[in-house]
Each structure stands twice: as C-alpha cells, then as structure tokens.
Symmetry: C2
C-alpha cells in the first residue's frame, strides 16, 4: 500500500488509527503507577515511552491531551512522582485492561487484579510482579503544539531489576524477562533476541567513541 | 538489584549506560534517511522513536545534543524532510553499522551496503528493502533542558507498507514483517505476537470510547 498525505487524510478513521499506531513498530510499553492526592493508587498502560538519557538517568512519556479523566497526568502534576513497570507476557491481559475508563476512586490495581507493591525507598505504587521497575520524579514537560499531547520527562530515582535477567555489563535480557513490546493500541509481542553487536566503527577508524545517543 | 539515586550516580559508566538504556524495554527502532544540502544521502539508526498522533499523523524522534557530526539533525534543519524505515531482521547488522562515525561526504547507504530508493512522491532517501517506510516533514521541535537532547516531531506525508503484512483493519503484522525492536544500544529482538485485545471497557460500562492515546 502506498499512501500520500491526501490518502492519509481521507482514510477511514479506525483504519488510520490502527495503521499510524503501527508505523513506529514494536514499541516500549509500561504500566505507569501514581497516587492521587487522597493516596488512591492509579495504574495505566502507556506505549509512548522513550529513553531520554543515561546520566542523569531520564525517561520520557507522551500523554494525550489532558481531559477530566487524565488521572495519571493529574496525579503526576500533584505529586511529581510516578513509577514505570515493564510488563511480562503473563500480565499482558491485565495490563491492557488498565486502559479502560475506571472512575478516579477506583484503583486499577484492584480492578484489574494486579498486585500493588509499596516500598520504603520510593513513594509510588509499583507492580509487584514486574521484573523491571523504576521510580521517577517529574523533571520537565513539553506540549506538542500540533496536537496538544504532552511529553513528561522524569528523572529515575530508584531501579529494581530481577537479578536473574540482569547481566554483568548492565544489559537486561528482555527475552528471558518475557517483556512485551506493543504494536499499535491493542497488540502485544514477546521479544526474541536476534543479535548483539559491538560499537560500530568506520573500518579505518577504531579510535572514536560511538555516535549513538546514550 | 535495587539501586537508589546515589547508587545510580556512582555506577560504573558503561554499566549505567547499558542498564538505563534497557529500562525502557524493547524499543521502536528505525533507519532515518536524509539528504544534505549537496544532495548527499545520509542514513542513521534511531531507537528513540515515539508515536505522537494519528490525525494528523505524527511521529517524534529524540536526537542527542547537536555536535559537528550530527548529520541527520542538521540535514533535517536544512531540508525539513526525512524518512523513517522499519528494520527487518535480515538487515539488522547493516542497520547497526550506520551508527559508526562516517564522514559527512560518505553515504551510509553505500558504506553499509543498504540499497537506497528514490521515489517521485516524496523527496528523501528510503531504504528499499524496508517493508514499512514513511516520509515526514519537520513540524516542531523541543529541547529537553536537562540534557539538551532534542525531540523532533514530524508530520507523515507518505506511507509505504508491503501489502503482505498489512491487515484489512490497518494493523501491521510486525511478526510476519520480521521487524526488530531494540534493547539498549546494541541488542535487537524479533517480535512474536502473544495477544491482541478489544478496546478495554469497565465491565458495567460498554458505551465509552477507549482511553488510550491515539
């Protein structure tokens, strides 16, 4: 299929939504945990997550335009704190269910049967059975003018990685972790490692640092 | 492993780089094609790609802080046009090699053995053997203050998806496409579909639209 701008603009709405959401490929997906001002926990699935930097350690999440039921966004505004939890394949159905419109006085942990974990090191609701968890503090945010989505950048304050999937060099074995990536809005994929390469160098030039963003 | 902020700050540098780059999980990864002002093509691998919106159709890419050899960023500044091309598993080694520091007068297409495709519908170098290709125009950008990385948001002007992986509802079969996702800076994973779910609804409330960002 070939589509130009006018083709894209005239596509049937749900076809376009599915298609455009798949163009980015297999995307990082997380469960984002927050508390509201009454201490009520909230959990929601987000597939628009990017690595922003390793030092300081930062991650960005894109939020849709703020509406009355944007609980995660509003909780972060209020508390400046949130958690991100990788999703193992065994939890994918419950994780997807967090995207339903639960009222603000309902915890998706309870409603979706996901075990909540509270720890002394970081104030935020974690997903107990996630193998890779982070606690973050709001650092900055940017409104995308064209569609009013909002990129929140958080600084990582706390990390928990199950020992069995952490390699000595800092890699995480995402296949062994059975972590999922998302395709579009409703599909989930498990990861099978196909390759790992050394830092790429121009053949006659072995002295340079790698060019990739870190 | 549990790490607090002071633990993270005192980690050995390459361990921290690997670890933090893996926390986001299996990430969308693309080959980004540009032309410089002399018409010289450039191709570089980017794993910090997010879906921004379906209507208008937009994608964001995070660039590291601008340096002399930030060819992709500078070319986009000059031409406002770029392409994104999903990476099939068969091309992953050549795709990774584009991250080497080639001089500005070298095309990574040639240097890495990746076939370039020029089309009449959109001015930009595409990856011929990619099954999912987009042509985008620069729409806006945002500097992340904390580390000077730059989010460029592009509006999708042109889409090419191989017919054999496009489903009637607009989904792309990322498993059949053999698309890869990235783990950290140097690992690549193929995708095996584990689940697809209907729009999640609160059980007693079937009338609402889904809450997920589209």
């Amino acid at each position: 299929m070939i589509a130009t701008l006018s083709d894209i603009e005239s596509m049937e709405k749900s076809f376009r939504t599915n298609l455009i959401n798949h163009l980015s490929g297999g995307k990082a997906v997380h469960l984002l945990g927050t508390f509201n001002k009454h201490g009520q926990s909230n959990l929601a699935i987000f597939s628009n997550v990017i690595h922003v930097g390793a030092n300081p350690a930062m991650i960005g999440i894109l939020f849709r335009p703020v509406l009355n039921d944007s609980h995660s966004y509003k909780n972060i505004q209020a508390n400046k704190r949130f958690t991100l939890n990788q999703i193992p394949a065994s939890m994918v159905q419950a994780a997807h269910q967090t995207s339903a419109r639960y009222p603000s006085n309902t915890s998706e942990f309870e409603a979706c049967g996901i075990e909540e974990e509270i720890i002394p090191e970081f104030e935020g609701p974690f997903v107990k059975n996630s193998l890779v968890k982070m606690g973050l503090i709001w650092e900055e945010e940017h409104v995308i003018k064209t569609n009013q989505t909002i990129l929140i950048v958080g600084k990582i304050q706390y990390i928990s990685v199950e020992d069995s999937i952490l390699l000595p060099d800092g890699h995480i074995d995402l296949e062994k972790a059975q972590s999922v990536s998302a395709g579009g809005l409703d599909s989930y994929y498990q990861l099978n490692k196909v390759a790992q390469f050394p830092y790429a160098k121009v053949s006659a030039d072995a002295s340079h640092e790698p060019r990739r963003n870190s």
